[in-house]
Each structure stands twice: as C-alpha cells, then as structure tokens.
Amino acid sequence: MSRSTPDWAASVDALAGALARARYIADRPLATAVFLAVRLEKPLLVEGEPGCGKTEVAKAVAQASGAELVRLQCYEGLDAASAIYEWDYPRQLLAIRLHERAETPAQLETEIYTEKYLLRRPLLRALDGSAGARPVLLIDEVDRADEEFEGFLLEILSEYQVTIPEMGPVRAKQPPVVILTSNRTRELSDALKRRCLYAYVGYPTPEKEVAILRERVPGLPDVLAREVVAFVQALRGTDDLAKRPGVAETLDWAAALLALEERSLRPETVRDTLGLLLKDARDLEAWRGERLEGLLARP
C-alpha cells in the first residue's frame, strides 16, 4: 500500500496490543483479519454469533487508532437517502425563491446543486474524513438491510467513492477502515462478499471469556468470574436453547452479580438473575427448575 503505516498497525502483534489497550481482547485470527483490512485497505466483513463482540471490534479499532467512528446501523427499508446523502430541499426551494429574479434557470440549477445544499449521511461523512487518522466506518448488521441496499454499497466498498448524479463522483480523501457486521439472518450477495475480507467471531474459549470478564468488569472476584464462565459455557453446551447467551449476556450477568455483592454463585441468585442470560421465555421456563440445580451441581 502506498500510504504510511500507523504504529498501532505495524504488525499483527502491535495491532492485537492496541486492541487490548482499547479493552478488546482479540484472538490471533481476528487480529490478522483487522490487520489485513487496515493494510490492504479492504473492507472487513465480520460474521458470528450475536453478542460476541462484532460491533465492538470497530469501536476498539477506532479507539486504538484515535479516529472518528462513523456508524451506520442498517435496518429493513434503509435507503441511499438515509445512508449516503440527500439534498436539502427546503433550503434549495428557499434559494430558488430568493434568486429566481436575478438568475437564469441554468444558473439557479448550478447554484442549488452544490455541497452547500448537501446533507451528508454516514457513508458520505466517512468518505469526507479530513486529515488525521483514517476514520472507521461501521456498517452494522448489514444483513438487516434490503438486498437492494447492498447495491449502493458496492461502489463505496470497492472504489471508496460515491457518485452524486448532479455533482459527479466524490472520492474519499483517505479510505476509511470499513467494518461490516452480519448476524447471518440472510446470505449476503456474492458481489458484496467478494469485495470484503472475512472473519468469523464465534463463542470464546473459557480462558478468553474469563480474560474478557476481568477486563470489562473490574472488581469482579476471580472465583466468581470462573464460576460465571463455567456456568455460561455449560449452558451454551446444552442443545435445546432457543437462544444461547453471548459474551454480552455474560458481561451483563457478571456486572449484575457484582452489583448484588455476590462472592460466588448461589442457586437462588442464579434463579433470580437468569433473565440476564436467557432472553427467551421458553428457555427461562425450562431452566428455572431442577435442570438449573443439576447444572449448578456439576463439578
């Protein structure tokens, strides 16, 4: 790449260290993926289980690099006007009314289709990033957006530019670090995936989850952290859960136990706070009885 390399992304190890300083514990595959995304200036598609830290990757990269995080939360019905740009019609109409006597229609048209009347949405703002660190563009839960919206993204992801018909192409001053996340609620188009590097974030190992707890829930007793992780991992290992708890649920639960001043797991407390781990009514109902006792009784 022709650009100079920031210190925090000088190597995979340096990048993993920078993410750790941003309180994100990345394993080697994910650190390599982010490293390549930064160095090759290619978007990174992060897929994986819900609540396992996909969105946090982008936040940590922004924090590690000291750059602005521009976030686009995708949803069904998201269109180019909400994601890229929109003309400020009221101001344009006002300008027309003010200048219609003094200028010809051609002059008016030239006047109203300028940056002054452009409302920048997240994608255009990310391309507009000024000098300094490359901005981090997070396109979150891209699988929630309509397939047609992926078409809008293609030009941005491959060329880092947006074509505005009235003004021509707007090219990024410096390409942002683009991170897309997906929960795989639907298959993304091949065209989109082809433009991206790929990383999968699964459930963490017990050791890694304990380390995450230590980092994210300061003050949590070590014994309690290990018990929490052992319990959550055992819960994930059962095969009849409608929704398995992710790392986010583990963190919430540990924080709740800390707030309740628990020193170790007790059946009563677990039963009372199980709703922080299991977010499905049938799961809760199934696990509040003897099964919970059995799981807690495991060595």
Partner: protein, 388 residues
C-alpha cells in the same frame, strides 16, 4: 508513523506456481475464489510474510473464505495441499515452513465453534458409518445419484416457484418506485415542478415495491426419497433461483446447509456441486431431530416473514409425537409452513405416514412438486389460529 510499508516479499516462479496450485485446490474444495480474492491473498502474504505457517493459514482464511463453511473448506485444503503440494523441486526456506505438517496440538482458533455443518463432504469416518448403520441397518447409506432434470421439467419448476413467490413469499415493502397507476407522490411532484418555475405540470405517482420474504427450504435427502431426489432438486433449485435470499438445508439423520453449492450456479453445475454433499444422509430419516437441530442452530435467524418449505415424504424414524412438537415450534416462529410431498401428485393421495399425520395441523399448505404450489391432500390447512 513508521517509515512506510514493508518491502514486498518477492515470489519466485516456483513458489508462485505452488501458491497458485493451492488456490486451485481451494477452488476445488468448493470455495468460490475470484481474481480479487486471489490478489488479496497474495497481497496479504506480502504483508505478513511466509515464515509463519499459522499466519499464512490466517491470511488464506481471511482473504479466500466468505462464510463459516468456507473457513473449514479453506482449512482442509490448506492442510491437504501443504502436506503434499503438487510440484517438484527442492523447497525454499519459506516453502519448507509451509510444507510442515500442522502441529497436532494446536486448535484452529479461528474456526467457528460448534459449526453445525462440519459433516459436509468430510471423508466418511468409522463413527459416521456406524451412526448411519444404526438408523437403517438393512439399507445402508449409499451415494445419491442426482440426474439433472430436463429443460421442460426445470421450466415447470421455475414457473411453480415464481407462482409460489407471488402468492406467499412476497410482502409490500417500505420503499416506493414510480408507477403510473400508483398514488400521487407529492415530494417528487413538488421537486419536479421547480424545473417549470413552480408550475405543477405533471403529477408523479408511485407505489410500494413488493419485497421478497425470506424462504427456507428443508430438503429431505434420506434413503426413502432417493427415487424423487432429481425431480425435487429441480424444485429446490428453482426456489433458490427465483428468490435469492432462499437458504437450503439438506437433512436425513443430520442436517446441513447446502445453499452455497446452489447459489449463483447454473442448474447443471449446481447438480454436480450438491451431489457429493448428500452422501452422508441416506438410511433412515429423523425429521424431528433435524428440525430440532435446525431450530437450535438457525432458529434465531427465522423471522416472522420467513416461509419454510419442507420437502419430504414424511417417513419419520422416531414416531410422530416429537415431530408434531417440533413442527409446532417451527410454525410459531415463521410466516408459513409449506410441505411438499412427492406422493401428493396422486389424485388419491391423503396423508398416511405417521409423521405427516401428526405434523398436519401445523402445515399451512400441503402440495406436490408436480403442480407446485397447488394445494393437495385435502386442500389448504385451516387458517390460523392453530390447535392449542
């Protein structure tokens, strides 16, 4: 800032040839590797170097894989190829590093844990053979033979799938498009009036764009379906072809996603790609167990707009009661449940297998592959609400 990017790692002809051979091996494993991915792979290697085998593997995963399934396929191709790569000649230091066999104690930390489809096209292990035999000792599994359907049959399947899409797998979207017969679009009308000095010369109209709902196809490829597989695959392929977001799962005694083998492929190439994936799923059918596995692994991805199409004859190894419970759970999470039975084309057909009888209350449409999606076997199921 450091002083710029590291000096590029030069690839000699021999190493480049071997790297290219690896890419061909990855493609042969079913991973679609385009020129862009190939270039990203080589650029990535230049960034991380070639001396760390694990790092090279990570680069291959990040740049060549595009799904969790691909990650496993890339890993397997990596292990196979660099254990015994094509090409002769004395290896260089970098090549010798890559040519080492993988350390046995080291896990594949980047592979998604608990992937449900790891069984796909793995070499059959003794465990798997025993498992298949356990369910049907008299009829051991054998490879399925998918014969491509004729053009006429495929056209018929595509027409049926399009009718199905119009009838069930569409919904009004939130976006609009210009239409001469739609409602007046005040914003566009006002904006265009600017061109005529504020005069409202023409009313612009618009109407909602019909969105395509999600479709999930659960395709029974067990031994009892063997003789219908070719014809049913034409329908499965058509459902994927007319609705790009369709996901296809093959099941028998286990369930695995086969969408990747069908997506973006012409029909005959899709047949060739899917055929080897069906191998381990002959001999016995455990629909309920497979539905439970589907719900467990992919249930969170079902949305209220999802239509589920089950293509099966309804033979159930475990009896009907558990199947009914699983069907009820599935039904409560999706938009419609459609059951395609290969025998339903017979005019005298009525649900007779225990599985189908028990599942019937939770089927919104029972139909046959011949005149799909026309209702068969007693017409449409009663509208919701369902029995408690």
């Amino acid at each position: 800032m450091t002083g710029g990017p590291p000096a590029p790692v030069p690839f000699g002809d021999g190493l480049y040839r071997r790297l290219h051979g690896f890419l061909l091996r990855v493609r042969g494993a079913g991973v679609s590797v385009g020129v862009g991915s190939e270039r990203a792979f080589l650029d990535g290697l230049r960034e991380v170097g070639l001396l760390d085998r694990a790092a090279v593997r990570e680069v291959a995963r990040v740049t060549l894989a595009k799904s969790p399934r691909d990650v496993t396929d890339v890993d397997r191709a990596f292990d196979e190829y660099w254990a015994d790569p094509e090409g002769a000649g004395e290896p260089t230091l970098a090549e010798r590093t890559l040519l080492q066999r993988p350390p046995t104690g080291r896990g594949t930390s980047g592979a998604p844990a608990g992937r449900p489809d790891t069984a796909r096209s793995e070499p059959p292990s003794p465990d798997r053979e025993l498992r298949a035999g356990r369910y049907s000792p008299e009829a051991p599994s054998a490879a399925h033979l998918l014969v491509p359907a004729g053009d006429r049959e495929l056209r018929s399947a595509l027409a049926g799938a399009r009718r199905f899409r119009r009838a069930m797998a569409t919904r009004p979207g939130r976006r609009f498009r210009p239409s001469p017969r739609g409602a007046v679009d005040p914003r566009t009308t006002a904006r265009r009036s600017v061109r005529s000095g504020g005069e409202w010369v023409r009313l612009f109209r618009r109407r909602p764009v019909a969105g395509r709902a999600d479709l999930v196809v659960l395709w029974d490829v067990s031994g009892s379906m063997r003789e219908h597989l070719s014809r049913l695959f034409a329908l499965v392929y058509a459902l994927k072809r007319v609705n790009r977001s369709t996901r296809v799962f093959a099941f028998g005694t286990s369930i695995a996603e086969v969408t990747g083998a069908i997506a973006s492929r012409p029909y005959r190439r899709a047949v060739r790609a899917v055929e080897p994936l069906l191998d381990p799923r002959g001999g016995g059918t455990q629909i309920a167990q497979c539905l439970a596995a589907f719900r467990r692994n992919w249930g969170a991805e079902l949305r209220p707009t999802t239509s589920v199409v089950i293509v099966s004859d309804g033979w159930e190894f475990e009896g009907g009661r558990r199947l009914a419970a699983e069907m009820a759970a599935l039904w409560s999470r999706c938009h419609r449940v459609v059951w395609v039975n290969p025998y339903a084309a017979d005019p005298s057909f009525s649900p007779a297998t225990e599985g189908l009888v028990e599942a019937r209350p939770w089927i919104d449409l029972l139909t046959s592959p011949v005149d799909f999606p026309r209702p068969r076997g007693g017409g449409r199921a009663p509208a919701r609400p369902r029995p408690a």
